[in-house]
């Protein structure tokens, strides 16, 4: 027998090799700056994402000022307006949401929730953050190069993205593409960590089906991202070559200002396919972690187990799979073969099935629950409503015949802000209110939280509901100014003013939120280890915030799933995942075998 055979069998089951050599920082620089601890990396990721997200937010204010009050603000001209649109869209989707959900929450929650000391490749994890930071810096620099940032729209469609007449074709678009390529490289390093940590580094007893849904959501979203980002990567590199070397991957023959360009016979449609092959899964890269987080938060704050856990897991996986075969619903008006349209409309509608299933399960989880209307819970309920709303307009747009007149109108803007703008952001807020106590050891201020929630929730509906209507009457998207048209009634202008005022009010609520975070870090009410009486492992750490290595001297051992709430016959209304069955206190009235033993009591 060769040693090779031996080697295959010799690998020790992970249950016993758990104790890893932890990396130890010896200098404050390696402890707080170039740190390999996933929790520190998570905070770095989150802080960077939120900062650049604030830039995206300010850009949206500028756009709204222009749309609400055209010709009032001299410093916004058509060129800069397009730059705002582009940078806003790109920043929000990629550099805020993707980075925050995967780099931020993924890094913080995966190791803690599966009971690992850290990510499996900590060094690579650290590099991932620094490459991300570099990508953000490169993107930011693009505002300041001659010609300014790209104004191509966040979809960066060629040929216009790199043709004369579009703002930012000198440096802006180049930096944008370089930044995207860097982002993807950085993400891939992080993504390998998230996937392999979930697969290989779980604590003893943490079977896949005992993982909290948050972990499932982030896990599947990471797989999607690993498979989808390469399409953006390839498209980005090819466009960069078209722009820098003058190749013709995407650039057709064109006459610009009376002269033939040197490009020949490229295929702009190819870009659209590559872009949306990434772009649609991207929606779910953001949505799946949100789904997971919502499931866990409503279960905890309604003191009830999640309804249909297994269905929820499968739905996440099914949505993930289906999201790769719907991309061309973004291309109904691109002139592609109508039979394609039929196919993609069908797949798009099929995705609604697992998604609706999740909706029902959330509602059934809340049904007869002991609902605590805490801030995280409020945000989650708001998410469910908002996602439902955006999902339904999505069914409209998924049909070719409805999409054609609505395409490129404000209706689309309203739709995608509902599903992937507002909805995930509501979950981010929910998650921050929920986990901030673990990250900082202090609670966020409840009253300010209420204020933040109601203004944000009602405000975003007042912003986006009217926008659907604007879309119906035909107000186009990505227009600097519509001026006078025969079909848009003057009342649209009043509505636009109203929307802009609402945007500023909602914006103010975010300032309050930021203040709440900063003040609470220092002055918040001490939270204790487990303020929400939650079952999952991150709440069972020895110290709060969790120390280096997460779980004190001994790794937790997991005995049950994460949804053991309000179990009959058990004294407390929750049983932590790592509490040995023998230690579960039973109520006096309970006699004989209770709690964990009778299966039928759990469902």
């Amino acid at each position: 027998m060769s040693n090779g055979m031996l080697e295959e069998t010799q690998v020790i089951p992970l249950a016993e090799v758990e104790e890893v050599d932890l990396y130890h920082a010896h200098h404050w620089i390696t402890k707080y700056v170039f740190c390999q601890d996933a929790k520190v990396i998570a905070i770095q990721y989150s802080a960077t994402a939120i900062l650049i997200g604030l830039v995206g937010l300010v850009l949206s204010w500028l756009m709204r000022l222009q749309l609400g009050f055209p010709e009032v603000f001299d410093f916004i001209d058509a060129e800069s307006y397009y730059q705002y649109v582009t940078m806003h869209g790109m920043i929000m989707v990629i550099y805020l949401l993707t980075a925050l959900f995967l780099g931020g929450f993924g890094n913080y929650l995966i190791p803690l929730m599966v009971g690992a000391r850290d990510m499996v490749f900590p060094y690579m994890n650290m590099i991932s953050y620094w490459v991300y930071l570099l990508a953000v810096i490169v993107l930011t620099v693009s505002f300041f190069v001659p010609g300014g940032a790209s104004g191509a729209g966040w979809t960066l469609y060629p040929p216009q993205a790199i043709s004369e007449g579009t703002p930012g074709i000198d440096g802006g678009i180049i930096l944008m593409l370089v930044s995207l390529v860097l982002f993807i490289i950085g993400f891939t390093m992080g993504g390998l960590n998230y996937v392999v940590t979930v697969l290989q580094a779980r604590a003893r007893g943490m079977t896949l089906m005992r993982m909290p849904l948050t972990v499932w959501g982030i896990f599947v979203a990471t797989i999607l991202a690993l498979l989808a980002f390469p399409a953006l990567f390839v498209a980005g590199v090819m466009m960069l070559l078209d722009r820098v070397l003058g190749t013709s991957f995407f650039m057709p023959e064109m006459i610009v200002q009376g002269e033939m360009t040197s490009h020949e016979n490229g295929s702009p449609l190819l870009f659209q396919h590559l872009f949306w092959f990434f772009g649609h899964p991207e929606v779910y890269i953001v949505a799946l972690p949100a789904f997971g987080v919502v499931s866990d938060i409503i279960s905890t704050h309604a003191r009830k187990n999640i309804f249909g856990y297994r269905m929820m897991v499968w739905a996440i996986v099914a949505i993930g799979g289906l999201s790769f075969i719907v991309w061309a619903h973004h291309m109904y008006v691109s002139g592609m073969n109508p039979y394609f349209g039929f196919f993609f409309a069908t797949t798009t509608l099929i995705i609604a099935v697992p998604t609706a299933l999740k909706m029902y399960n959330w509602v059934l989880t809340l049904y007869k629950g002991n609902i605590h209307l805490s801030i995280p819970m409020l945000f989650c309920i708001a998410f469910i409503l908002t996602f439902l709303n955006g999902g339904i307009t999505g069914l409209f747009l998924g049909n070719v015949i409805v999409d054609i007149p609505l395409s490129d109108t404000m209706f689309v803007v309203a739709h995608f802000h509902m599903v992937m703008g507002i909805a995930p952001v509501l979950v981010i807020f929910a998650a921050i209110y929920h986990w901030f106590p673990k990250m900082s050891g202090r609670m966020l201020h409840e009253g300010w939280g209420q204020f933040h929630f109601w203004i944000t929730f009602l405000g975003s509906y007042l912003i986006y509901f009217p926008m659907h209507y604007l879309g119906f009457v035909g107000v186009p998207r990505r227009y600097f100014e519509i001026g006078e048209t025969a079909f848009v009634p003057p009342s649209a202008a009043t509505l636009n003013e109203f929307i802009t005022v609402m945007v500023l009010i909602v914006g103010f609520a975010q300032v309050v939120f930021m203040a709440n975070i900063i003040i609470s870090i220092f002055k918040g009410k001490p939270a204790g280890d487990n303020p929400w009486n939650a079952t999952s492992l991150e709440w069972q750490t020895a110290t709060t915030p969790p120390g280096h290595g997460n779980f004190g001297d001994e790794l937790p051992v997991v005995y049950r799933w994460a949804y053991a709430y309000s179990m009959p016959g058990v004294e407390a209304d929750f049983v932590p995942q790592n509490m040995p069955p023998g230690e579960v206190k039973r109520t006096d009235s309970a006699t004989g075998p209770v709690a964990e033993d009778p299966p039928e009591l759990h469902q």
Partner: protein, 205 residues
């Protein structure tokens, strides 16, 4: 236990047999590094597949002017095969606790890989001299793109190679090198496979 089987579990039912006893985990009986490499190779596959699909799509266009395939490409292919073989040799060395085998294998793998990359650059130089610029025809552009993408992946592999190699120089034992050499070997074989597919694609177009 297969992943699928695992996913059919009903965690809310407590199986009395499992209640007190917790089972081991880790979805695969493999070190994290191996699982990580496999996931990464999937990502690499997606990248090359997408470029290949784009390539095939563009081949159908009317003004596609295929490039000549310089004979040096055949030589480079041989070099790449040699580097892969050398890696395998090193890998066999780690299995048989044969340090000198590991050393020879690693050194030669590095040498052949460097030679391959140099050869690829030479091909580029030759084509540019002949006037096949990336912007004269999309076939050329794809050729440069594919070779560059593959070359950069090889260069990335050389970083991993360098880390094993310098660990060996610093006196690491065979056991210490086993995993990293194995990972390098897998990566080299896989990139060889990708190169063969790409080369075949270039030849038939």
């Amino acid at each position: 236990m297969s992943l699928f089987h695992e996913m059919t579990k009903k965690p809310w039912l407590v199986d009395p047999a499992e209640a007190n006893e917790v089972r081991e985990v880790g979805a695969f009986f493999l070190p994290a590094g191996k699982v990580g490499l496999r996931v990464f190779l999937v990502v690499v596959t997606v990248i090359f597949t997408l470029i290949t699909i784009a390539y095939a799509d563009r081949m159908l266009f009317a003004n596609w002017l295929p490039m000549p395939e310089p004979w040096v490409l055949w030589l480079n292919t041989a070099l790449l095969i040699a580097s892969s073989a050398a890696m395998q040799f090193a890998r066999n060395g780690t299995k048989q606790d044969d340090m000198s085998g590991v050393r020879d294998g690693l050194v030669w793998a590095g040498v052949f890989t460097f030679a391959f990359l140099t050869g690829q650059l030479y091909v580029w130089q030759q084509l540019v001299d002949l006037g096949y610029y990336a912007n004269t025809n999309t076939a050329n552009a794809f050729f440069y793109l594919l070779t560059a993408a593959h070359g950069l992946h090889m260069a990335g592999g050389l970083i991993a190679w360098w880390r094993s190699y310098s660990r060996m120089r610093r006196g690491a034992s065979v056991a210490d090198l086993r995993l990293s050499v194995e990972l390098c070997t897998t990566y080299w074989h896989y990139l060889l496979l990708i190169w063969l597919v790409l080369f075949a694609l270039l030849l038939i177009s």
